[in-house]
Symmetry: C2
Subunit: 307 residues, 2 copies
């Protein structure tokens, strides 16, 4: 990671982590058990990419991180809940995440399900909390809630996850025929919704809270779509070629017979496609000029993830 | 059920069912699979108690059902998601709900988890949709989102469910010592949070959207607390004495060694306590005078549930 971006991440992560610690119920609040499980997964060494994107979306439109901090935290909670539920035995059945035992391994399946539910519920509480920050309009917050509930729901992240689950264990060979037109379309549907949707949502949420123009939102939407897809393609490649230490878990796509870019197009072609998507992301930023420096660095970072 | 209340339920249920059908994504939207699972559980013969309470909360404060319909639907989605996740093998492991196979029995555990997640996410979308109804203030909607995310979260429904899960299989004999002071306190914590919280939330949500005064909100809060507790005590009694046909499922509390009112106080004492709670609920309605007719009938209905 580029030094300037690394510094940026360190600064923002410090702010976000401090806010998360303040905004998630303390261990001393009953029932202790659930807050322990929530905090275990939230403070598990995540990169805070989505909060950083919320703040970047605000800043590129002339806003400040101070205006969007609760919503930045909300995006991390939505991301964390999705990981906890994805890891469950009934889903991907992963024992390790970021090198640590997954939630259901530590707290049991019942508590992992409830911790995920609680994080999702609390995320909407935090977005609503953004109304306490002076200068943020109630109408903007409602627009963010509407947008995020769609992009985290069946028209976004959950939709992608459903298609991913239904395609697992080699079932994609038949499942694409039920509603997707082609295997490639199914793969695009999964990746666009499972990952890109929430990345777009993060950027747009920050921008909306800071009164971005429709033109700015359109540009960020295009940037987010391409960045998110590139991110997921790189993730597929990483799962195939990365070592366990770097990944913090075993590469499980091949074992689970998942439909991935490397499987459908091969490794080389997948890397090329990620490159094309990253270039498109860069181009989408042109309306912002020099203000978009951090977003350009982010796009470069994503492009280099599989090395 | 009293005839007047029966008619009221029929009228409101028709409105709510029609709105739910319009407000939940159609089966033709991809991925088909998840919308099928969502609709299976939402249209499974639920009584729509929570939507009826949202509307009653609005009407007793001088508002109209038209102003609160999307939020009334949202409460039904939150309730339905909680049932789907409660029934999972890792939780209560129930095969039947309202006389039909539970979600995970029909769609698999993975889809049942995701259908619950999707309903919870969509609930917040629907509350935000309430802003499209003329005359409803954005600030009121944000207040409802903040309230519901607390009462459906670890400070409410999920908190109660966590304590319930941790107390299952006879573990309440030790679990109460970790943080609740006494077995009775643990039982009260479970019931107040698991059931009463969302019943309170329903009444308050409808009232807030219709500009209720703080005095009115306080009265509804008191009414909802007692109604909700009475409801859960009656539910415990029903689980013990009700037949399978009436219940739509096997009584599972004894088999699961759950901490319930009949277990701690015996059947007779539990019935008496439910009666006291219902009387308190009636008393709380005094500020509303004759406007509260439906809420009085609702309280009587809850009191008679175990017969």
């Amino acid at each position: 990671m580029n030094d300037k971006l690394k510094n940026h991440f360190e600064t923002q992560t410090r702010r976000v982590d401090k806010a998360l610690d303040r905004l998630i119920p303390p261990l001393s609040q009953r029932p202790f058990d659930i807050h322990k499980a929530m905090r275990y997964s939230v403070f598990a060494g995540g990169k805070r990419l989505r909060p950083v994107l919320v703040i970047a979306g605000a800043e590129v439109c002339g806003g400040s991180w101070k205006k969007v901090l609760p919503t930045a935290c909300a995006l991390e909670l939505i991301h964390t809940y999705s990981l906890i539920h994805d890891d469950l035995p009934a889903m991907d059945n992963d024992d390790l995440r970021r090198g640590r035992p997954t939630s259901h391994k530590v707290f049991g399946e019942d508590m992992a399900i409830l911790a995920g539910d609680a994080l999702l519920t609390h995320a909407f509480f935090l977005v609503a909390e953004n109304s306490k920050i002076p200068g943020v309009k109630s109408d903007s917050i409602l627009r963010v809630i509407s947008l995020l509930s769609q992009l985290a729901g069946t028209a976004g992240m959950i939709g992608g996850q459903v298609a991913d689950v239904k395609s697992g264990a080699g079932r994609w060979k038949k499942y694409w025929k039920t509603q997707y037109g082609s295997k490639k379309q199914l793969l695009k549907f999964i990746h666009h919704n499972k990952t890109a949707a929430l990345i777009q949502g993060s950027l747009l949420a920050g921008a909306i809270l800071c009164q971005a123009s429709e033109k700015q939102l359109k540009a960020l939407n295009e940037f987010g779509k391409n960045l998110g897809l590139a991110f997921q393609v790189a993730d597929d490649v990483l799962d195939r070629v990365g070592d366990k230490k770097k990944l913090g878990k075993n590469g499980s796509d091949v074992a689970n017979q998942k439909l991935t870019y490397p499987l459908l197009f091969g490794l080389e072609q997948s890397r090329k496609m990620a490159g094309i998507l990253v270039r498109r992301a860069h181009r989408a930023l042109s309306p912002f000029g020099e203000r978009a420096a951090i977003l350009h660095l982010l796009a470069d970072f994503v492009a280099s993830r599989d090395h």
